[in-house]
Amino acid sequence: MEPFRQHRGTVAPLLRENIDTDQIIPKQHLKSIERTGFGAHLFSGWRFHGDGTPRHDFVLNQEHYRSASILVAGKNFGCGSSREHAAWALSEFGFRAIIAPSYADIFRTNAGNNGLLLIEMEEPLVRRIAEQAQTKPPYELTIDLEAQTITDDFGFSETFAVETFRRHRLLHGLDEIGMTLLREADISRFEERRRTFLQRGT
């Protein structure tokens, strides 16, 4: 996993509430057995017409936002299906961070496992950032995960909260499986204690 320390990038505003993972990556693109190839289909229902041509009214098709790496969205981002393909698609498209008032639980974990930083901010602040991105593109933000700050070039500066452990993993790009495997002895002891419970019928 690529570590996340500091990131400066362009902001794309997509201020809808309840953006579900079916929108982030529609099901017709889930049939791959690879982890890559999903970026091209990110938000495909919104990004493209039925015939595959781009919809010019969609934010990520507009000049100033095409190479955005920070997405600003409405509350409950990532709700619905558990598909990690949503996190893969966002990362592959180039997003490193999302700013929204809240996120769905499973998406939060999936993002963490793919080095995608989720920043939770009060709704008025999210709105303000989205407005800046809308009115003076390309609007850039610098996110410093070590200092837990977001700043722009016009004097905007805010701190954000992030769980200590999640921050630690992101900063160092740590593989969760490797970390758990260090606990092998604890897992085996646990299994020994619960042996009868784990027995099955036929």
């Binding site: 201020l15 809808r16 509430e17 309840n18 579900d20 079916d22 929108q23 529609p26 099901k27 017709q28 889930l30 049939k31 791959s32 057995i33 690879e34 982890r35 229902g45 039925g50 409405g74 509350k75 409950n76 709700c79 619905g80 299906s81 558990s82 598909r83 990690e84 393909h85 996190a87 809240s102 769905a104 639980d105 499973i106 974990t109 999936n110 496992n113 793919n114 769980e163 200590t164 452990f165 969760e176 499986i177 758990t180 495997l181 606990r183 604890d186 897992i187 646990f190 299994e191 619960r194 419970f197 784990l198 027995q199 099955r200 019928g201 036929t202």
Partner: protein, 472 residues
Amino acid sequence: MEKSKTLFEKVWDSHTVMQREGEPTLLYIDLHLVHEVTSPQAFAGLRLAKRQVRRPDLTFATIDHNIPTTSDERFHIKDQIAAQQIATLRRNCESAGIPLFDVGSGRQGIVHVIGPELGLTQPGMTVVCGDSHTSTHGAFGALAFGIGTSEVEHVLATQCVAQTKPRSMRLTVSGNLPEGTSSKDLVLDIIRRLGTDGGTGFVIEYAGEAIRSLTMEERMTLCNMSIECGARAGMVAPDQTTFTYLHGRPYAPSGNAWTEAVNRWQQLATDESAQFDREVSIDGSRLEPIVTWGTNPGMAAPITGRVARPDEARDASERAAILAALEYMGLQPGMRIEDISLDRVFIGSCTNGRLEDLRAAAKVLRGHKIHASVTALVVPGSESVKHEAEREGLDRVFIEAGAEWREPGCSMCLGMNPDILAPKQRCASTSNRNFEGRQGREGRTHLVSPATAAAAAVAGHFVDVRGWHYKE
């Protein structure tokens, strides 16, 4: 004396392998269910890191999401990419020694239908699957939740997941659900009240008189859709209904082990003085049939009600959401739900594809004909459900009414197989998600109970099934 605990805390604590200050809990997993869509990258990751599947004996796989539902095509899949996904699962299971309930085995079906019906899902267990509707299994008093593919890989390698402890909510439903309503109406009503993020960060325990009198299948429908209000999981404390359902199932304990298990399961109920982080109560006796009109499961109204109007919104973002939903759904603000007419009806999915659901739909359809402008698809949740339904003659009822009777799978719940809506087609569906494009690009989905779906199929528009004219 030991601290009093909720059902959720009992299961959580008994599965905690390790808990360090400031870190997520390492939780042991008793049952890991696997399907073809969210697992290939996890197996590939394992191979890449030269890691083994730790407990193939606690892992079970099936094929459900992209399998075609016509009897021919399910053995000869035309979609090459879907076929590759299925072939990959077969290969992965074989090399890791994971039991696979394959197509034609008599046990294949939607992962959340077969876990319970095979007796794999048991009270007090931790159950995970790379699928958000894993919450279904909470109906047994198991702690069951959906995980992403990286976590699937994590469970394959370690038989554990790392989780931050959720908060607890008790949702008490008093009274008895009225005739003509079902647990599907109940859960749609709950989501409508809590909102699509009202349960975020919580495990919900459903309690109260109305819940106690639900059958196991009805409890599954309820727990299944817990995720649609954002909850991590839904749970119902196990009771005699649970034990009766499980007794004699293929993977349930038997003989002495059964007696011991029941004794253990009886200890799982929430202690009387245990505290929840949040308490919500609902009067179940006033429930009405519910129909969604929008593009998330919380956008719903009673059958006697109307589609929302933008001027009812609490704030600007809700107003925008209502406008966008009405436009996508092609509905007039404030129109009567009963005036919405339909092109398609889908009865099936892990929410409502079980035997009782099919019985409820068949009871409405018996002796009636499906409206000329509607095509209806009935898809049993598993091979075993299909077999049982045919033994009872339900298939005849569906076919005589003019519906198609298909082979088991997820089907038009998400349309990863050939069963999809055409653009702008309007569908009454017993599934769980009405997101934009869920059942096909530009398709319009209304979520309802099996009885309401069947009645709509006959009438050609939504009707109140409480006034239904049953034949025979």
